[in-house]
Amino acid sequence: MRINMKISNGLLLGILIVLINSCVKEINPILDSKQKNKVVVIALLTDQPGYQYVDVSWTSSIKKPVPTPIKGCVISLESKNGPLRYYQEYKDKYRIKMDTNEINLASQYRIHIVLPNYQVVESSWESFFPDPPIERLYHENESVITRGHYNSDTAIGCQFFVDFKGNNQDSRFYKYDLTETYEFHSQQPLEWWYDGVVHHVVPPDNSKRVCYNTMNIRDIFVLSTDNLSKNEYQRLRLNFVDKYSQRLAHKYSLLVKQLSISQRSYTYWNQMRINRHQEGGLYNNQPISIHGNFKNSTDTTLDVLGYFDVSRVTQKRIFVNGGYDIIDNSCTKAALRMGLREISSSDYPAYLDGDNMGYRAVLISKACVDCTALGGTTTKPDYWP
């Protein structure tokens, strides 16, 4: 049995006893996979010009979860002080393009959805709240205990923080959406590869040595200054970037979007955050089923999950220079003791280690010569310095 020592809620007793004796292990309980599916609606209307999106889907089986979009919906955006607008189906979502002058910050909005089964789902009316600029976005090197489910370790990495400063007219509740971009490299150029025949690329191909990857941070960050004497906050912890990838090897960038939200929205997203970070410790809250601001008007006994946020957005980007002592295992090498015949045809094209003098009987992974194997693109973003 693999045992993971963990800290429970930061309590000392958790430390004293839990570190010595507690354990976390993965189990396979019998879960009811035949639950009736629920409708999930995630919608966001911002003050930013461009496309506004609505995502309508079914909940998915816990055993084989897959995004299950609902197509064929008729979705409209209702405004108390403006015209009715309809969303267009686009790929697996619905979108509507709005210019700045089409968004009335003083109005209230709601989403009205007619599902393919003619049931009607509606959100509550939502309003915009003022959103001050992000006061400060910064990072610090930190040593933290990583809380993997099997392994724990003290990791050195980069912890991002945001400081917030608003006035009394601004919202007291905020949500932060984070997007990271980082530069990463393959270890060597493509020079030798094998598909039954050994190929030698001359000159070595460096076109896929440098890549850029952009990803949304898969976490929820919310802030409430409701109980604070000032509408200010310092050192709100955002994401932590550890050393187990190339993120901090070359250059890293974090884009933070600050969304001003309602108190109800804050309660919803905060509970989503708590549920997501369940660790089952001694003093953890029990998870709960969370309900947002949608309801099924046709059959009120049917739950609708999700939330419709109306938010003003401000954003800030920060860059972190590389040079961290990282651990990157993306490029693997295996010696071919019996020569090239060890390589199965199903592995073609196989990449070989070598130099201009010749190849070695060492099989290397594609990521060693092609950074796109790890995702991302070789196209440098516009904002990249």
């Binding site: 045992i3 930061g10 309590l11 000392l12 007793l13 958790g14 430390i15 004293l16 006893i17 570190l19 004796n21 507690s22 354990c23 976390v24 292990k25 993965e26 189990i27 309980p29 879960l31 009811d32 629920k38 999930v40 995630i42 995502d55 889907s57 909940t59 998915s60 089986s61 816990i62 979860p65 995004p67 489910h149 959406d177 949304n216 109980n227 604070l228 004497s229 200010e232 906050y233 310092q234 050192r235 709100l236 309660t267 989503m272 549920n275 997501r276 369940q278 660790e279 089952g280 410790g281 001694l282 003093y283 953890n284 809250n285 029990q286 998870p287 709960i288 089923s289 969370i290 999700g306």
Partner: protein, 918 residues
């Protein structure tokens, strides 16, 4: 067995004569002109060593002796002619034979029974027996006063020979008839018998079992003085619905000794009486390392704990890993979970009444123990011999050094410590017993620079027991208790806060017992409680921007009068009927709100503000409660018992976590929250297998609670002073079946096996949507644990060695499980089931302990014993909770276990004196 022993038997047995204790024990006889018979009686009384001799030989012998520190043998030899008599020690007795050599023909040796006499007037004369080692004869009544076919009432009062105090709960058993009874709180027992000869057996835990030949002639009464057996065992009595033993009358009792609790394997060497109680049917521990107990499907705040009548609001150190009570100090530990006497109120599920020992009235004593994390000691000092004595108990942890050696800055900057002290003074006057008791416990733990927790229990009680007459006795108690809980949270400088809340309870109680006759006893009294709950201010600390939030103060006054009558109309039936009238007033100062009709209770819908001045009644709750219990004997070996109990609760603990967390809060019933009220009915069947020494019981119960308080989804009790916005009240009910088979007594193998099937449900279904939890549907409570099995086996390997093992199994607790996954911006999230729709895996644990006593030498400065125990012998990683993480391949489920490995502990226990020292 005849009092006269056949000398031939002695001759045979003398072949195995060896050096015995009678030779080792030293006495200092200082007598003048007393008969030889009286001389022997006095030595026997002092030393508990019987002396056998032929009375005719010393009929006219007068003794005068002035000696110090001589052996019993020498004391005898010094007063008789040793040329004519041989004085031998045999089997803890002294035998005087007439000849130097073994006699070649049988002769008779008479066993003398001091003060034995035939009762001629049963109501006034009494027999006193003192020699327990020999079979004695007791003659009750006078010939010709009763016919052979009539039933006569034979009464007995049982005393402790040491302090001459009556012994309640002693078993009086007629072996021939397999019939028995139990002495009442005054040590008295009555039994109806036909005139004739019987074998009488008197049993009491920790005392030598006594056997008598009982000759009943007519109605009569006699006294029995019982001698200590081995270590004086402090007893733990667990009362249910007169349960567990068919012979118990009101109420029945379950006995566990503190010694046997110490033998129950424990986690870190500290015996825990509360956790030991969880081995009994109907009582379930919340889990490893937690302090909660769930009794008969009730939540953990529904149990009242009284230490010498002081309410204790936190019964554990370090949030459940160690007991708050020093087991060495405990004398009686009584758990009421079914029938709860009318003198108790205030909690729905159970009352844990813990009574501490008084000091040793005769001599200084000291004992204690050393476990891996704490040291404890109990010291007793007689200030005025047999009148005024003092007892002091102290315990302190030294766990900080463990933390300082862990190579992690966050941990070695942390600390965890606890201590508790208590002191008692008791004064015995002829008709008055006065006792004063103080208790203090303190806990502190801090995790690095992140947070710090601190809590204290403080209490004081002054108890006066007055005997106004043989019929009227009164107990007056004045009690004060205070619980402080302080939290400091530095996790984020902008929101850092400290919060202290203080809960005080002051109580005056007068309790009267009126003994109308031996069949009818009336109990009545008055109970006044004043509660003061300062929920405290959540204050910013350091650079925190947090706005100070005053959570408010709750005060409450509860007046209660109670009366109950215990009546035994027939020998086979006795019952108790009680009534308690409670009047509870939440008091000002308080500012509370009215909300718009039909709207959710939140700040948006406040319609009116109500201001109550200091001590102004906010509301009046009048709560009548009826209690009833009856026991019917269905034969010599079985009985049927029924009980009905109504209870209420004004104080709730608000908790949203799996166990009682450091941030859990107490809250009093107020303008918006009603006191919870419960009705419980229970019934039990009890059967004893006398020959095999087993007792069995089967009980069923049903309990229904109104105005049960439950937290809303996502509640945070530190965010608002208006608790009514975070909780709802509804129904809770539970039912169950409890079975137990137990063997106890003087057997090599003792123990029990207990099984409980129980269910517990909650429904919060108000009229409006926001008044519902779980959409108003019924859901299992967080402590709905259907199957619980516990077993304990004690094996006495020898007088110095014993082995114990326990087994615990319980169904997994309810939990809210994921039922589906959905995606938000490609991030998977889990949608959870309705509340508590699933269960975590079952719990199983086996423990073992081995107790080694030091040598049994009589003369020694200090006696030691060593308890070696293994907690979680099989190393099973029992689930404490289960949580879920969505992933691309589905929901990954992780089980969190608090104790996942076997924990070995060695505990050293010491006391001044020998094995038998108190």
């Amino acid at each position: 067995m005849n009092r006269r022993l056949v000398i031939g038997v002695l001759l045979l047995t003398l072949l195995v004569v060896k050096s015995l204790s009678a030779q080792e024990q030293l006495i200092s006889p200082h007598y003048k002109n007393i008969s030889f018979r009286e001389y022997c009686q006095r030595i026997s009384l002092e030393t508990k060593v019987p002396i056998y001799y032929s009375s005719n030989e010393f009929k006219y012998k007068i003794i005068s002796i002035q000696k110090d520190s001589i052996s019993i043998l020498d004391a005898i030899k010094g007063v008789i002619n040793t040329d004519s008599f041989n004085v031998l020690s045999w089997n803890d007795a002294v035998i005087i034979l007439k000849d130097h050599n073994f006699p070649y023909k049988l002769a008779l040796v008479k066993t003398e029974i001091p003060q034995k006499e035939t009762i001629t007037n049963a109501m006034t004369s009494k027999i006193t027996t003192t020699l327990a080692a020999a079979r004695k004869q007791i003659v009750v009544g006078k010939k010709g006063y009763a016919s052979h076919n009539s039933m006569v009432d034979v009464g007995v009062t049982i005393y402790n020979a040491d302090d001459k105090k009556p012994l309640p709960g002693a078993t009086v058993y007629i072996v021939d008839l397999q019939k028995g009874t139990i002495s009442n709180k005054n040590g008295e027992a009555d039994i109806l018998l036909q005139p004739g000869k019987y074998t009488l057996k008197i049993l009491y835990m920790g005392m030598k079992t006594q056997l008598y030949k009982l000759i009943v002639r007519s109605t009569g009464h006699f006294n029995i003085y019982m001698q200590k057996q081995g270590i004086e065992l402090s007893s733990v009595n667990v009362y249910g619905d007169n349960q567990m033993n068919m012979r118990q009358k009101d109420p029945g009792l379950e006995k566990m000794t503190v010694k046997s609790i110490r033998e129950i394997p424990v986690m870190i060497g500290e015996p825990d009486i509360v956790k030991a109680a969880a081995m009994l049917p109907g009582i379930v521990s919340v889990g490893d390392g937690t302090s909660g107990l769930n009794v008969r499907g009730g939540s953990s705040d529904q149990n009242a704990f009284y230490l010498n009548k002081i309410p204790i609001f936190n019964t554990s150190h370090l949030f459940g890993f160690f007991p708050a009570f020093n087991a060495d100090l405990v004398k009686n530990f009584t758990v009421y979970k079914g029938y709860i006497p009318a003198r108790y109120g205030g909690r729905l599920s159970s009352v844990f009444d813990i009574e501490t020992r008084n000091g040793n009235p005769k001599k200084f004593s000291l004992h204690g123990g050393l476990s891996p994390v704490a040291i404890n000691g109990v010291m007793s000092i007689p200030i005025l011999k047999d009148k005024l004595n003092f007892i002091f108990s102290g315990r302190r942890s030294y766990s900080d050094w463990i933390l300082r050696r862990i190579d992690d800055p966050a941990i070695n900057r942390s600390s965890a410590s606890f201590n508790d002290i208590s002191a008692g003074l008791s004064l015995d006057l002829p008709k008055l017993h006065l006792s004063a008791f103080v208790y203090h416990s303190h806990d502190r733990f801090a995790y690095g620079y992140v947070n710090e927790f601190q809590y204290d229990n403080n209490g004081f009680s002054l108890i006066a027991k007055q005997n106004y007459s043989n019929k009227i006795k009164a107990t007056y108690s004045l009690v004060s208790s205070q619980y402080d809980n302080k939290v400091r949270n530095y996790a984020n400088s902008s929101t850092a806060y400290s919060h202290l809340y203080v809960l005080k309870q002051n109580e005056f109680k007068a309790n009267f017992d009126y003994l109308q006759n031996s069949f009818n006893t009336l109990h009545f009294g008055y109970d006044l409680n004043f509660y003061d709950l300062n929920r405290g201010i959540v204050e910013p600390i350091g650079y925190s921007l947090r706005i100070p939030l005053n959570l408010g103060r709750n005060k409450g006054l509860e007046n209660a009068v109670f009366v109950s009558d215990h009546y035994r109309p027939w020998q086979w039936l006795d019952f108790t009927a009680g009534f308690r009238l409670n009047v509870f007033n939440p008091l000002g100062p308080q500012t509370t709100y009215n909300y718009q009709q039909g709207k959710p209770l939140n700040d948006l819908y406040i319609s009116d503000t109500l201001v109550f001045n200091n001590n102004m009644p906010i509301k009046t709750f009048v709560i009548p409660e009826f209690r009833f219990a009856a026991k019917m004997d269905l034969g010599k070996l079985s009985s049927l018992k029924v009980a009905f109990t109504q209870m209420h609760q004004n104080l709730f603990r608000l908790n949203t976590t799996f166990s009682i967390s450091p941030t859990s809060q107490w809250k009093m019933a107020d303008y918006h929250l009603n006191p919870s009220k419960s009705n419980q009915v229970s019934m039990g069947y009890f059967y004893n297998f006398v020959k095999q020494g087993f007792e069995s019981s089967v009980e069923v119960y049903y309990k229904k609670t109104k105005d049960y308080t439950e937290f809303k989804d996502g509640a945070n009790f530190l965010q608002s002073k208006n608790i009514e916005q975070s909780v709802l009240q509804g129904k809770q009910w539970s039912y169950g079946l409890e079975m137990m088979l137990r063997r106890r007594g003087d057997y090599r193998f003792t123990g029990w096996i207990a099984y409980t099937y129980s269910r517990s449900f909650v429904q919060i279904n108000g009229a409006a949507d926001w008044e519902k939890i779980n959409q108003g549907k019924v859901y299992p409570s967080s402590f709905d644990i259907p199957n619980v099995l516990s077993a304990l086996v004690n094996i006495k390997l020898s007088k110095r060695l014993s082995f114990s093992t326990t087994v615990n199994y319980q169904s997994g607790r309810p939990i809210t499980y994921p039922v589906s996954i959905y995606y938000v911006n490609k991030i998977p999230f889990v949608d959870y089931s309705s509340r508590n729709a699933y269960r975590i895996p079952a719990y199983f644990r086996m423990d073992a302990s081995f107790t080694i006593e030091g040598n049994l030498k009589r003369n020694k400065f200090m006696h030691s014993s060593l308890v070696l125990s293994v907690y979680n012998l099989t190393g099973r990683d029992n689930p404490y909770s289960v949580y879920f993480v969505p992933s691309s391949t589905g929901v990954r489920t992780f089980q969190y276990s608090v104790i996942a490995v076997p924990i070995f502990t060695a505990t050293w226990i010491f006391k001044l004196g020998n094995f038998y020292a108190n």
